[in-house]
């Protein structure tokens, strides 16, 4: 099993080395990056199959036994996150064939992209909280590079805000690890599950939990800590911001779900209620922020924030159904959000701008693109029968079950406001004629670029439709995954062996 767990990390690293050495050869490096993502997808499907068959699987790197060595663990949540990372990675790698200019390629775009994927996969698979920190850093340094690659003024400006605020979160994370280690004497997450219950001063543990909550909260862009996101995500090329939008904040959400179901579950009355308030405020501020924007990618950026609120809501309610909703939401959201960013890139190509007031006419001249925008946009807003509807349905039902009527109402109202934003983009970019009378037809792009840009969008939209029309297997999957999250004993046994 060892190789199956290690490959999702090793493959992107190996690809990164190769594409970096080929960075000035143009096509070879580009296609190698796509091939690396394809292999990653194959491996992640195998990993998914293995966890589906055997439950939680774990491997010790270097043969050192847990809790001393480096542990890699995959439960269903980790496996599906790796799978979705591979899907998004492949889609963006194909899109990048036509989106990234040669200057950025020679500076090492593809290598940084692969290192980012390695960091994301590592964060999903690690079973050790200090290694989680290391993977966050791998991911962070690659994302720093990608964000400012090319060095436009707006990119540098957004980059400075992104870098500084994320560094603060990193230091918070490190402090949290230090305090947790001081209290328990271990860093292995499975071992921590047992060790935190033996800590005498449970009040201190709650403080540590909140430190972690802040650290991961910055990464996940939740309510008072999200400012770096809308300041930076609209500045880099689309092939960068799509992968950021799809994956980076979700690593923060994953870390929150992992730590607050496995480690910090003693004082849920405090921690999870705090998360609930945060979730509600995140949803509302995100969607209101989006309503005030008039730039394609800025609107989408604020919607990332608002959608993060839904996932946190699932975690905060901490009932089986709510966690099912959270897992379902995570999977659905990554696909939809990355896709919307990819569509925005094509729209910019055809019309010449991201500013909604300066573009238009897409519906009339390229109806195909319009349909491909409508699918993820309506899914994001939660229209039946698309994937977003089921995700929201599960979460609202879970809140009604525990009689949290207020939060259910907030979730529904935010859904409505999301439609408002999506309609705004639709009306401005697609419906109204182009202000300069341009005809933004798809055939303006040459055939190869059109293939590279449209194929990933089409593939992701198809996935959204499949999840929407056949939600049953996905819900069953999310149920099993949530059951694993609520019963950490399985996870602990897989890591530490039958002895405990």
């Amino acid at each position: 099993m060892s190789w199956l767990l290690a490959l999702p990390v090793i493959l992107p690293f190996a690809t990164a080395v190769l594409v970096f050495l080929l960075r000035s050869r143009g096509a070879a490096g580009r296609w190698l990056s796509v091939a690396g993502c394809g292999l990653l997808l194959v491996v992640s499907i195998l990993l998914m199959a293995a966890t589906w068959r055997e439950g939680v699987i774990a491997a010790q790197m270097g043969g050192w036994p847990a809790p001393f060595g480096i542990t890699l663990v995959a439960d269903l949540l980790s496996a599906v996150m790796v799978l979705i990372t591979a899907i998004t990675g492949l889609a963006v790698a194909v899109y990048a064939l036509a989106d990234i200019d040669e200057r950025r390629e020679t500076l090492g775009y593809h290598a940084l992209f692969q290192i980012l994927l390695a960091g994301v996969c590592g964060a999903f698979l690690t079973g050790d909280i200090f290694n989680l920190y290391v993977w966050f850093e791998v991911m962070l340094i690659a994302s720093f590079g990608l964000l400012v690659l090319g060095g436009d003024k707006a990119q540098l400006d957004g980059g400075i805000k992104y870098v500084t605020l994320n560094l603060v979160s990193t230091v918070m994370f490190l402090t949290g690890i230090a305090l947790l280690y001081g209290l328990t004497g271990t860093l292995n997450m499975a071992d921590l599950h047992g060790a935190v219950r033996e800590v005498e001063n449970q009040g201190l543990l709650t403080v540590v939990a909140v430190v972690f909550m802040i650290a991961f909260g910055v990464k996940a862009a939740v309510f008072p800590l999200f400012f770096w996101l809308p300041a930076s995500y609209h500045t880099p090329p689309v092939a960068v911001s799509a992968v950021f939008a799809g994956l980076l904040t979700k690593v923060g959400v994953y870390a929150l779900i992992r730590t607050f179901t496995l480690i910090f579950t003693e004082d849920t009355a405090y921690t999870h209620n705090l998360l609930l308030v945060v979730a509600a405020l995140t949803m509302v501020t995100g969607v209101l922020g989006a309503a005030a924007q008039n730039e394609f990618r800025k609107i989408l950026s604020f919607h990332i924030v608002s959608q993060i609120g839904y996932m946190i809501l699932g975690l905060a309610l901490y009932t089986p159904l709510a966690l099912v909703g959270a897992v379902f939401y995570l999977v659905h959201h990554i696909i939809v959000k990355a896709n919307l960013f990819l569509v925005s890139g094509v729209a910019k190509r055809l019309t010449g701008s991201f500013e909604l007031s300066a573009i238009g006419g897409l519906y009339k001249s390229s109806p195909f693109l319009a349909v491909l925008f409508l699918i993820p946009a309506f899914s994001l807003a939660g229209f039946p029968p698309l994937s977003g509807f089921w995700a929201k349905f599960l979460l609202v039902k879970a809140s009604l079950e525990v009689e949290a009527y207020l939060i259910a109402a907030v979730a529904l109202v935010v859904g409505l406001l999301t439609i408002f934003s999506m309609t705004k983009i639709w009306a401005e970019a697609f419906w109204k004629p182009h202000p300069e009378g341009k005809e933004p037809v798809l055939s303006a792009l040459d055939a190869r670029a059109r293939m590279a840009l449209m194929a990933p969008i089409l593939a992701l939209a198809t996935l959204t439709i499949i999840i929407g029309f056949y939600p049953e297997p996905f819900v069953i999957f999310a149920e099993r995954s949530a059951a694993q999250l609520l019963d950490p004993a399985l996870y602990v046994r897989a890591v530490l062996g039958a002895a405990t």
């Binding site: 060892s2 290690a6 090793i10 080395v17 190769l18 050495l21 790197m61 270097g62």
Partner: protein, 139 residues
């Protein structure tokens, strides 16, 4: 910097530091030292050269782009981890070989652990030099 003393002394110092950095790298398995500290020492040597003769000369002396060195190092470190699988062990298990071993003598031990350390050495040299030379040329 145009100083005769510095550029004359640099010739000897750089060579010394590079040799010492390799010594640190090799002794790192059982005693304080290792790839990271060795790499930093080598970097300091090359930075000294860059101060004395300019960063363009330092880049020329390196022959390879610093980032290429770093990525090559990453590749070597990965290779060291993957080699273990060929012998049926988990990733990153150390693999040892003792050629010329006789009786109690360990002969000439070579291992994937050393290979990994060499990778770390190259990553440190490449990454730090990329930053330092980059900054040097910017300012």
């Amino acid at each position: 910097m145009n100083s005769l003393i510095l550029s004359a002394a640099t010739r000897i110092l750089v060579a010394l530091m590079l040799v010492f950095s390799v010594y640190m790298l090799l002794r790192g398995h059982n005693e304080p030292g290792g790839g990271f500290i060795g790499g930093l020492l080598a970097t300091i040597g090359i930075v000294l050269y860059a101060i004395a003769h300019g960063s363009a000369a330092a880049r020329k002396a390196l022959r390879l782009d610093p980032l290429t060195i770093a990525m090559g190092g990453l590749g070597i470190a990965l290779l060291a981890g993957v080699l273990a699988v060929l012998f049926g062990d988990p990733f990153f298990s150390g693999q040892w070989s003792f050629p010329f071993a006789e009786g109690g003598d360990k002969g000439f031990p070579i291992s994937t652990v050393l290979l990994f350390d060499i990778g770390v050495y190259l990553v440190v040299v490449g990454a730090v030099l990329a930053i330092v030379l980059g900054l040097e040329e910017e300012v």
